[in-house]
């Protein structure tokens, strides 16, 4: 079973990768001297207060002791107390993760639903007006700054047309939290008012994230389909008089989409990157907003915690992508 071997070896790399990540982020945020204690206590703190807080937070210890302590804490799932919210960082992250996951999952679904059909049609109607329009749009989608697109959509749909809410995640208290996904929770409560509110709040941030991602998917799908259409086996099927629709559905798509699936792991990374910024623009209560807040507060521990969580998330997604890929394209696993 090559597939099992692949999964096991990838899982074995999971721990060292994360450990390395912890070290790198720890060094980055400690080697360079800014003083989180000063930031925390403000300008008017007495030297004695600063010293007391430094000892309380463990900043008086040598760097390697701090690192060792940090590893012990990470292993026990304790990422420390957020200087800003005064709550455990793991709790803050866990509470906010569903908001980010829901947003990125909706965005990636949207981008696939937009990107794959556009890419396939574009390739099948190569060099038509439609193809040119799609290609121009996809090149543009990659050049647009996510935070600017966010503001553009806010301006058009929230401020001018009033078609969608400006920011935040839901009106009122929302449904009973079960999964933390507003859309799922409102369905579980069968609360249509909340569902409508959740969806309308979701629309603009999800669109902001989905458009650049869709642009990438269009490009890969188009290239993949063109590649397969010009291959020998499709030429042969055509020569044998097989109906073009059947060729496309049964043979072209499956072969062309393997490269697109590989890209989805990559696209997820880009989505998370953009989510950090986009969440800030839309006041979306996810881990991106938390990260930006922590950064502005010089909260090293919170930044480290966030980085570890994001790193783990992306490594897991890439593993899932590899597993899905091994089912669609079994060549590498036999």
């Amino acid at each position: 079973m090559r597939r099992l071997e692949m999964i096991v070896s990838r899982l074995a790399w999971f721990v060292p990768t994360l450990a390395g990540l912890v070290v790198i982020v720890f060094l980055i945020s400690n080697v360079i001297p800014t003083d989180p204690v000063r930031v925390l206590l403000g300008e008017n703190a007495t030297p004695a207060q600063v010293e007391a807080m430094r000892i309380q937070l463990g900043y008086d210890q040598p760097l390697w002791v701090q690192l060792a302590r940090h590893f012990r804490d990470v292993l026990s799932g304790n990422l420390g107390i957020s200087i800003y919210t005064q709550r455990p960082i793991s709790e803050d992250l866990a509470q906010r993760l569903p908001a980010t996951l829901e947003l990125t999952l909706v965005a990636i679904t949207l981008s696939i639903a937009l990107g794959i059909p556009l890419g396939v049609i574009s390739a099948l109607k190569r060099n038509s007006l439609w193809d040119h329009v799609v290609r121009v749009l996809s090149v543009s989608g990659l050049a647009i700054a996510a935070f600017w697109l966010a503001m553009l959509l806010q301006f058009l749909f929230a401020m001018k047309l009033g078609a969608a809410p400006l920011n935040s995640r839901i009106d009122g208290f929302g449904p009973t939290p079960v999964t933390g996904f507003m859309i799922v929770d409102s369905l579980l409560d069968w609360d249509m008012e909340s569902l409508r509110s959740a969806l309308s709040h979701m629309a603009l941030p999800a669109l902001t994230l989905a458009l650049p991602a869709a642009a990438t998917i269009v490009r890969f799908t188009r290239a993949g389909v063109l590649d397969v259409i010009n291959s020998n086996h499709v030429l042969y099927q055509r020569a044998m008089g097989m109906p073009p629709g059947l060729i496309v559905w049964k043979y072209v798509l499956r072969n062309a989409l393997t490269s697109t699936v590989t890209q989805i792991g990559l696209i997820f990374g880009v989505l998370v990157t953009n989510a950090v910024i986009v969440e800030t623009v839309f006041d979306w209560p996810g881990i991106g907003t938390f990260a930006v807040q922590s950064i502005l507060q010089s909260d090293h521990k919170a930044i480290i915690g966030f980085t570890i969580w994001i790193g783990a998330l992306i490594v897991i997604v890439n593993l899932l992508v590899d597993i899905v890929h091994s089912f669609i394209d079994p060549r590498g696993t036999r």
Binding site: G20, V25, I28, A146, M151, F155, V270, T273, V276
Partner: protein, 292 residues
């Protein structure tokens, strides 16, 4: 060799998209170099005239004025200098660090190169902006620190690329024969390996420029770039947010500027790929963000 190059050059010249990209970049570079001459109000980078604040575009201020009454067009033109400096210096340093690391690791192998590649994998496991934000924040807001943060997070892209290509080239007959003829490792790497992977490096660099400009603008937007009143485009967009429904031109000018420049680099990158490597079909490029 020559006829192939000439054909490729002809194709690059006929490629309308690439020509558009080159034009955009030339305009950007001219604006950056001659900013003090071309900007209608060069003093407005630092000066403010609060009586004129938030004027819509008109004959005097083609792109309108900002919250301090400064001419937006002038600030955009000077912002081109910052954008171009960040892109070239940050990507340049990432290439200068990443390419030798990838070359050495790919050529020699063994545990040191495994270690180096593992370290770069770790860097690649996290979105670039997350690390860049952490670094830029600890260093404090300035252009130099943005450049440093971006170079530190970008070198693994080039190290990985060069590593993979060097490893596969090492088994080619012409490299083996060069080694058999007694060429020093240094000579093999610089004269035989490097020229053969140069096209991949150039293409990745061009597309990486666009991604770098987007990330730098995002850092500026978060307040981690140059301090006010530097006319950095990302910062200008952040400043414009509170005036959004009324002063629509304020956010439009820097947003369009970023879009046009990133588009220029991406189009040139696509064109260069077709030109340098005709085997790769146009359209199958990376995401542009971070040169992935």
């Amino acid at each position: 060799m020559m006829p192939g190059w000439r054909r490729g050059l002809g194709r690059f010249a006929r490629d309308r998209a690439a020509a558009l990209g080159v034009t955009l970049l030339v305009v950007l570079i001219v604006l950056a170099i001659f900013a003090p001459i071309l900007a209608p109000y060069p003093g407005d980078v630092a000066d403010f005239h609060t009586a004129n604040r938030l004027h819509a575009p008109d004959a005097d201020n083609w792109l309108g004025t900002d919250r301090m009454g400064s001419d937006l067009l002038s600030r955009i033109v000077f912002g081109a200098r910052i954008t171009i400096t960040i892109a070239f210096v940050a990507v340049g340093s990432a290439v200068v660090v990443g390419v030798p690391i990838g070359l050495l690791a790919g050529y020699y192998g063994g545990w040191p190169s495994n270690l180096l590649m593992r370290v770069s994998d770790i860097f690649l496991a996290v979105p670039q902006i997350v690390l860049a934000i952490a670094i830029a924040q600890t260093l404090g807001p300035s252009i130099e620190n943005v450049i440093l943060a971006l170079s530190v997070t970008y070198w693994p892209f080039w190290a990985r690329l060069v590593f993979a290509e060097t490893r596969s080239l090492k088994n080619e007959v012409f490299i083996e024969s060069a080694i058999a003829l007694g060429a020093s490792p240094w000579r093999v790497m610089v004269l035989h390996v490097l020229p053969n992977i140069a096209s991949s490096i150039i293409v990745r660099t061009s597309i990486g420029m666009g991604g770098t400009i987007l990330t730098a603008a995002a850092l500026g937007f978060l307040g981690l770039g140059a301090p006010a009143p530097t006319p950095e485009w990302g910062r200008m967009i952040a400043e414009s947010r509170e005036f959004l429904p009324e002063a629509w031109w304020y956010a439009t000018a820097p947003g369009v500027a970023i879009f046009v420049v990133v588009m220029g680099f991406n189009l040139v990158g696509d064109g260069l790929r077709d030109f340098l490597d005709p085997r790769i079909r146009r359209g199958a490029s990376g995401s542009g963000a971070g040169g992935t």
